[in-house]
Symmetry: D2
C-alpha cells in the first residue's frame, strides 16, 4: 500500500503542529508539505503532490482555503471553526460536483464521538440513563456542550422505541435542592467541577441487577489526532464532503 | 397495541420465577400461563393462547420442549443450556420450514452483549486495548468466559483493519512476574478476585490524550431479564430461530 | 489464642441470621448459642458461657436486652435501632460502672465508616471536593443520609484549616438548572438514581493535575458483617460502652 | 496572619518554575526571590528575608544548598534527588542542633501519599486487597514503584493483625497464564499500559457484599505542588528536618 501524501496548512498553530506530528507518526501517511498564513497554498499543493490537505487555520480564510484545496485536486480535512451553514452547503455542492471527498468537523474527538454513538445504541435496550460530566474548575458553564449533545442523541433513540414504559418510579424528594441534578429532555445530568479534571464524561445505564457505564476521559489536545488521522485515511475514498466526524464513522 | 401473550415453562425454577416476575412487570406483556415439569406443555399452550413460550428447564427436556413449542404455533425463547450443534440446527431447520421466529440463548445478559458489541466497534478506531474482569473470590478459573469472548470479538475487529500498525512500544520488563497480566490473542487481560464482587468487566481503550472505558456490572440474576423481555418482544416478528442474544440485537 | 464465645440474640431475623453465619465463618469466634423472642436470654448466657452477645432484635426490647447482657457479665454488641439518647446514656453509665466494654451502632457498614474517615482526612490536604452518591431507583429521598454525614465530617475538617483560601473560582452559569448539583455546607452533592444500583458513594478530591477518589459500593446486607465481627473482637478489651462503629476504629 | 516569605532556588527548572507559580497563587505565601545556578544563595536569602527556601536543583549542589539554607536561618524544602543516607543524616543532625524545621522529599505527590496511608489503614479492616496501576505505554517497567511501595505498606499493616485468617479461597486455575496478575508480598498486582494514561493507581478492598476502592490519578507535574505548598506552610513550626512527605502529614 503506497502512503497517502498529506499537507498540513496552519502547521505552526496548536492543532496544526499536533497534526504534523500525528502524520509523521502514522506509517501509512507521508507529510509532504507544511504551510501557514502567507504561503501560497495552491502552488504548494501542486508542487508537493499532496492528496489530502489538513486545514487548521482561522475562520476568515477557511472558506477560501477549502475552495482552493478542492480546486487543486486534493481532499480537504478541515478543523477550522466558523463556517456558516451557507458556507458548508456551498462547499458540499462544489465537492459533489467534482466527485471529491472531504470533511469539515467542528471537533475531532473520536473517543467522544464513539461514546455518543454507543450511548445512543444502549438507550434502545436500557432506557434508564443518567449523565455525569466532569471538568476543570475554570469552566464557567454547566452542563458541557458534549453532555447536552449526548443527551439529545439518547433522547432521539428513546423516542424511537415503541415499547410501553416500565413501572413507575416513586415521587422523589430533594432534601438538598439540586441534588438530583439538572434535567434536560427528561434525562438527569450532573456536572462536577474540580481542579485536576480536564474533560470527562460518563453515561450510566441501569437495569435490574446491572449497570452499563461508558466513560471518556480527554486530557490533552492530542486526543483529537486519531480523529484527524482517521479522516485523512478516509476522505480519498469518499465522493462528497461531509460535516461532522460522526458522519464518516461506520460502526 | 395489544399485549403479547406469554407462557413461562419452568416457572418454579430460579430463572423461570424471575421471568414470571419480569413478564408481570412489563406493561406490554401478559402472563397467560406457568408450567413446570409434569405439566402438559402442548395442552397449556393451546388452552392459554400463548404466543411466546419462555423455557428455562433442564437440558434433558430442552429439545423436546422447543419442538413442542414450535408445533404448537408459538415462538420459543429458550434459555436452557445443553443443546448440541445438531440440536440447534435441527430446531432451526424446523422453525425456518414453519417461517416461525425463535431464540435459543445460552446467556441473556443484555448489558454484557452490548459491552461486547461496543468493544468490537471501538477497536476499529482505538486499537490499543486491555481488558479487566473482576469476580467474587470463589470463582476458580481466570479469565472469565465473557472476557475471553470479548477479546475474540475485539481480535476479529482488529484483524479486519487494513491500517498500518502504529509506532513501536518499548520492550517491557516485569519486575514481578505476571504484573502485565495474561495475553490472549495479543490482548492483555487482568483478572481480579475479591469478596464483594459478583461479575464485572471493563474494557479500556487508550489513544493519545484520551481513554475510552466501557464497563458492565452484573450483581444478580435479575440482570438477565431485560434480555428475556427483549427476546419476547422480538421473536413474533422473526421468521427463523436464532442462536445467541447478540444475533437479534440491531444496533 | 482461645476463641471468643458468642451468642446471637434475634438469630432468626435477617441481620441475626447473617451474624450467625459470619461468626461461624470466623476462625477465632465460636458460636455458643442462638436465641430469639421468647427465649430466656439471661439463662442462655449463663449456660453457654457467652462472652459477647450480638443483639439484632426490636426497639421495644432493646434496652431490656442490653441491660440483661451487662448484668450477665457479657459484652453487648447491639445493632437494634430505636434507642433514645437517654437510653444510651443510661446503658453507658451502667457499663462504665461495671468497667464493661460494649457497642451500640445504628449501622455496621465498615466500608462506609472507613470512606468517611478517609474523606475527612483527605480534605485537610485537598480542600476541593464533591460527593456523588448512587442508589437504586426506588429510593425516594436525595441525597442519602450517608452522603450528608460524609459532608458534615468533611466540613468539620475544612473548618479546622487555618490556611488562606485558594484563588477564586469563576462565577458559574447553569444552562440546565440543577446541573451543578445540590450544595450542602458549601460542598456540591450529586444523587444518581437508577435500577441496578444498590448503595454507592464516591468522594472526589481535585488538586492541580491530580484527582483522589474514594468509593464504597455496598450490594447486600452481608456488607455489615465485617463491622459486626470487628466489634465482637474488640468489646472484650474495652471498659465502656460506645455509640457508633467509628468510635471503636483506631486508624 | 502575615504571609510566609518564600525563595525558590532553581526557579528556571521545570519543578522550580511550577513552584514559583504555586507560591504566587497561594494567598498566604509571598514570593520574595528567585535564584538559579550562579546566583549567591546566602546573600539572596539575607537580602530578601526569606523564611523558607524551596530547592529544586541538581544532586551535585543539593547538600551544599541545604547547608547554606540552614546556615542562613531559613527552613529548607528540598525536592532535589540524589542525597545519600549519610547526606541526609548529616543535614538532620545540623537542623536538630539548630532546632530548625525542614523537609527533604524525593517526591511531593500528596495524593499518592494519602492513597498509600489510607490503603494501609483500610487493610486492617478489609484484608482482601488487590492493586491495579495504569500508566502510559512508554513506561518499560511493571509494576510501578508506587504500586510496590503501596503493597509494602499494606503488607506491614496485614502482618500486624493478630486476627485469625478467614475462610480458605478455592485453588485457582489460570487458563491464560498471568491473568491473575503478579503477586508481591502475597498481594496481587496488575499493570495496565495504554497511550492516554499518565500515572494512575487503584487499590481495591473487598469484603462480603462490599467493595472499597481508592484511586489516584496524576496527569501533570503540577500535581506535586500541593505537597510543596503544604511543606512550605509546615516547616516553620517544626524543630527538625524530616525525610519524606508522609512524615509531616498528620492524618
Amino acid at each position: 500500500m503506497s502512503e497517502i501524501r498529506v499537507l498540513v496548512n496552519g502547521a505552526k498553530g496548536r492543532m496544526g503542529s499536533e497534526s504534523v506530528q500525528a502524520v509523521r507518526e502514522a506509517a501509512d501517511l507521508e507529510l509532504v508539505a507544511q504551510t501557514d498564513l502567507g504561503d501560497d497554498l495552491a502552488a504548494t499543493i501542486a508542487s508537493s503532490g499532496a492528496q489530502v490537505v489538513v486545514d487548521f487555520t482561522v475562520p476568515a480564510s477557511a472558506v477560501e482555503n477549502a475552495t482552493t484545496i478542492l480546486d487543486s485536486d486534493a481532499c480537504p480535512v478541515v478543523g477550522t471553526t466558523g463556517f456558516t451553514s451557507a458556507d458548508i452547503e456551498g462547499l458540499q455542492a462544489k465537492a459533489t460536483g467534482l466527485g471529491r471527498g472531504g470533511l469539515i468537523a467542528p471537533n475531532f474527538a473520536l473517543g467522544a464521538v464513539l461514546l455518543m454513538k454507543f450511548a445512543q445504541q444502549a438507550a434502545k435496550f436500557l432506557p434508564d440513563v443518567e449523565v455525569i460530566e466532569l471538568h476543570h474548575d475554570q469552566k464557567v458553564d454547566a452542563p458541557s456542550g458534549t453532555a447536552l449533545k449526548t443527551i439529545e442523541l439518547i433522547r432521539e433513540s428513546l423516542d424511537q422505541q415503541a415499547q410501553a414504559p416500565g413501572k413507575d418510579r416513586p415521587k422523589e424528594t430533594e432534601t438538598v435542592a439540586g441534588a438530583r441534578g439538572g434535567e434536560y429532555l427528561g434525562i438527569p445530568v450532573h456536572s462536577v467541577r474540580l481542579p485536576g479534571y480536564v474533560a470527562h464524561e460518563e453515561v450510566l445505564f441501569g437495569g435490574p441487577g446491572q449497570i452499563l457505564s461508558l466513560r471518556h476521559d480527554s486530557i490533552s489536545r492530542s486526543s483529537f489526532m486519531p480523529g484527524v488521522v482517521l479522516a485523512i485515511r478516509k476522505v480519498g475514498s469518499l465522493d462528497r464532503l461531509y460535516y461532522g466526524l460522526d458522519q464518516i464513522i461506520n460502526l
